[in-house]
Amino acid sequence: MNTGRRSVWLLTAMILGYAFLYGPILSLIVYSFNESRLVTVWGGFSTKWYGELLQNQKLLDAAFLSLKIAALTATGAVVLGTLAALVLVRFGRFRGRTLFSGMVTAPLVMPEVITGLALLLLFVALEQLVGWPSGRSMTTIVLAHVTFTMAFVTVVVQSRLAQMDRSIEEAAMDLGARPFKVFMVITLPMIAPSLIAAWLLAFTLSLDDLVIASFVSGPGSTTLPMVVFSSVRLGVTPEINALATIIVALVAVGILVAARIQHRQDKQREKDMQRAYASE
C-alpha cells in the first residue's frame, strides 16, 4: 500500500525530471522533421530541412570555422594548461604561488562579457602598438578561447597530477632518467586520459561559446553559434532544428562509444586481476 504510493510518486518525479531536462531537446528533434516552415505548427513528416541545411553555405562555413577554432583552441589550451598544472602541483611552494593559482583559475568565475570586452580592448591596443594581431579574425578568437579554456584544462590536469603516485616518477629518475625524459616517457603517458578529457572539454567550450567570440571576431570570422544566434533573432527556422539534431546525434554516438569502450576495459581489467590472483 505504502510502497505502491511511493513508487508512483517516485515514477512521477522521475518522469518530470527527465521531461525537464530532455523535453526541449526532444521537441527540437521532432520539429526538425516538420514539413511546415512554422516551427510551432506540425505539418507532417519530412526530411527536407536536412537537405536545405546542406545547401546553406553560410551555415556550413560557420560550422567548419567553429570546428577549426575549437580544435586549435583545445590543442593550445591543453599545452598551456598542462604546463600551469605542472607548475602548481610539482614545484612546491614558490613565491607568488597563491597569486598564480588564483590568476590561472580566475577565468572559471569571470563573467564572459568582461573577459570578451577585456580581450577586445587588449587586441585593439596591441594592434596599435605592435601591429599584431591585424584586425579581428580567427586568430583573435582562438587566442581568446585559449585564454578562457586554459583554466578548465588546468583544473582537470591538476587533479590528475595531484592523485598520481609521485614515487613512480622518482623511480624513473632513480633508474637513470633525467627529469625531461621522465616527463616525456612516464608522466605524459600516465596523465594522457586526463589530457584527452581536458582537450574534449576545451573543444566543447570553444564550440559552444557565443559571448566571447562575438567580442573578438571580425568580418569573415563568424562562428556557428553566432550564425545560429543571429538567424534565430529573425525567427527560428527548421533548418536550425535540423542542425541541432545532427549535433545531438553526434554527441550521443560519441558518448555511447566512449561508454562501451570504458565498460569493456573495466571488464578486461577485472578479468586480469582475477587471473593474477588465481595464479598466486
Binding site: D165, S167, I168, E170, A171, A172, M173, D174, L175, G176, A177, R178, K181, I186, P189, M190, R269, D272, M273, R275, A276, Y277, S279, E280
Partner: protein, 380 residues
C-alpha cells in the same frame, strides 16, 4: 681458535677498526620548515651488509633513505657512498637504486619493459638488455610473466618485479623502503628469507627501511633503531634485543617489563638495584657503571621470567603476583601477573607439552624469578 676469530672479524667489518665504511653518513640533518625529520645522524654502513633502519612512523627513517637516493637534500651534513661525496649528485647519477614501498611500477609498461627501463637509460645494447632482463626475471621467478602489465599481477608478483627492476642495474647499494609492507603475513615471512638469499648471492649492500621489528630482526646483519630523527642504537639483532641501549629501544623491540628503581650497591662484578614495585632487590651479575643512588630502569624480557608456586630460596630477583590473564598462542602462552602494587608484569612460556604438569591458571598465586644475567639496567 685464531682462525675463527679472523673470520668473525671478516664477517663483521663493523668490529674491525681498519675496515673502511662503504656508506658514510656524517652529521646529516633534514628539516622541513620547523620540523626536524632527521637530526644530526652519523652512521657507517659496510660493504655487503643488510642494514635495517627501524623505527615507528615519523622517526625519520624514510627521510634518511630518500637522502641516500637523492630525492631529498640534507639540510646539514654529508653522505659518502664508496668514498664519493653525494652532495651535488642528482638521483639519476647515483650508484644506488631504490625499491619503493608502493613498488612504483610503470603502469603503462609490461614487466619486461619495467625491468629494462633502467638499462635503457644507460644506453646498454639491446641484446645485452634482453639477456640481463631475462636473467633477473628468472632469478625472482617472474620469467613467465614478462609480458604482463603491472595491474595483471598480484601483490607478491609486483614486489618481485620491483625488486628485479631495482637490481638489474647492479647498483652499489640497494635501498628498500618497507619492501614487504604490502604483503600478507605468510608471504612476508617467505619473502624475507628470499630477500636475504638474493642479497647473499649477489653481495650488494642492502639498506632496508622498516617499522616491523620482526622483519628487521630476521633479515639484518645490523640495524639502527631510530626515534624522533635520531639513532637510539646501532647493533646486530642480538645486541639490540638482549642489550638495548635505551629504554625506548627496550620497549620498541619485543616486549619488556620495566621496573623503575635506584642503584643501592655497585661493585666491579655485580650490582643491586632496589625497585619499589618488587618484593626483593634485583641482583645483576655485572657492573652497571652507575653510582649508588642513581635512578635506573631495570628491564626483564617476558620469556626470561619463570613462574613457580613455591617461594624461591634466593633473597634476590623475585616478585609475587596473581595471574590475571592468559593468552594461548599455540607455540607459547603469555601470562599477565598483577603485583601487589597493581603493576602488571608479562611473562611468556613455551608450550613444550600438550598439557604441562604445572600449568598456570587464573587467580593462581605465583612467584616470578629470573637469572641475574637476564636483567638489563638502563640509566634514567
Amino acid at each position: 681458535m685464531a682462525h675463527s676469530a679472523t673470520s668473525a672479524l671478516m664477517a663483521n667489518p663493523w668490529n674491525d677498526p681498519e675496515a673502511q665504511p662503504f656508506i658514510r653518513i656524517q652529521g646529516v640533518s633534514k628539516s622541513f620548515g620547523d620540523y626536524v625529520a632527521v637530526n644530526k645522524i652519523d652512521l657507517d654502513i659496510y660493504q655487503g651488509e643488510l642494514f635495517s633502519l627501524l623505527g615507528g612512523s615519523g622517526c625519520g627513517k624514510t627521510t634518511l633513505l630518500r637522502m641516500l637516493a637523492g630525492f631529498e637534500t640534507p639540510t646539514e651534513g654529508k653522505i659518502f657512498i664508496d668514498g664519493v661525496d653525494m652532495s651535488s649528485i642528482p638521483p639519476y647519477e647515483r650508484p644506488v637504486n631504490m625499491m619503493f614501498q608502493s613498488y612504483a611500477l610503470f603502469p603503462h609498461m609490461s614487466v619486461e619493459q619495467n625491468v629494462a627501463f633502467g638499462l635503457k637509460q644507460d644506453g646498454v645494447p639491446k641484446k645485452e638488455i634482453a639477456e640481463r632482463v631475462a636473467a633477473i626475471l628468472d632469478m625472482v621467478q617472474m620469467g613467465k610473466f614478462a609480458s604482463r602489465k603491472p595491474h595483471q599481477l598480484s601483490g607478491g608478483q609486483r614486489q618481485r618485479v620491483a625488486l628485479a627492476r631495482a637490481l638489474v642495474k647492479e647498483p652499489k647499494v640497494l635501498l628498500l623502503d618497507e619492501p614487504l609492507g604490502a604483503l600478507d603475513k605468510k608471504l612476508r615471512e617467505k619473502t624475507q628469507f628470499e630477500l636475504v638469499n638474493i642479497q647473499e648471492r649477489i653481495g650488494i649492500t642492502f639498506i632496508v627501511v622498516t617499522h616491523d621489528q620482526e622483519e628487521a630482526m630476521t633479515m639484518s646483519t645490523r640495524m639502527a633503531v631510530m626515534n624522533q630523527g635520531m639513532i637510539e642504537q646501532v647493533g646486530s639483532p642480538v645486541e639490540v634485543y638482549e642489550y638495548p641501549a635505551t629504554r625506548f629501544v627496550g620497549e620498541f623491540i619485543g616486549s619488556a617489563n620495566m621496573f623503575e628503581g635506584t642503584v643501592v650497591e655497585e661493585a666491579t662484578d655485580h650490582a643491586v638495584v632496589r625497585c619499589p614495585e618488587l618484593d626483593a632487590d634485583i641482583f645483576i651479575n655485572h657492573a652497571t657503571n652507575l653510582p649508588p643512588g642513581a635512578p635506573v630502569v631495570a628491564m626483564v624480557r617476558p620469556e626470561k621470567m619463570k613462574a613457580q608456586v613455591e617461594k624461591p630460596e634466593s633473597q634476590y630477583n623475585y616478585v609475587r603476583g596473581v595471574v590475571t590473564e592468559i593468552a594461548y598462542l599455540g607455540d607459547m602462552s603469555i601470562y599477565h601477573v598483577r603485583l601487589a602494587t597493581g603493576m602488571v608484569v608479562q611473562i611468556s612460556q613455551t608450550n613444550l607439552r600438550h598439557t604441562a604438569e604445572q600449568r598456570l591458571t587464573w587467580d593462581d598465586e605465583v612467584y616470578l624469578t629470573w637469572h641475574p644475567g637476564n636483567c638489563v639496567v638502563l640509566a634514567q
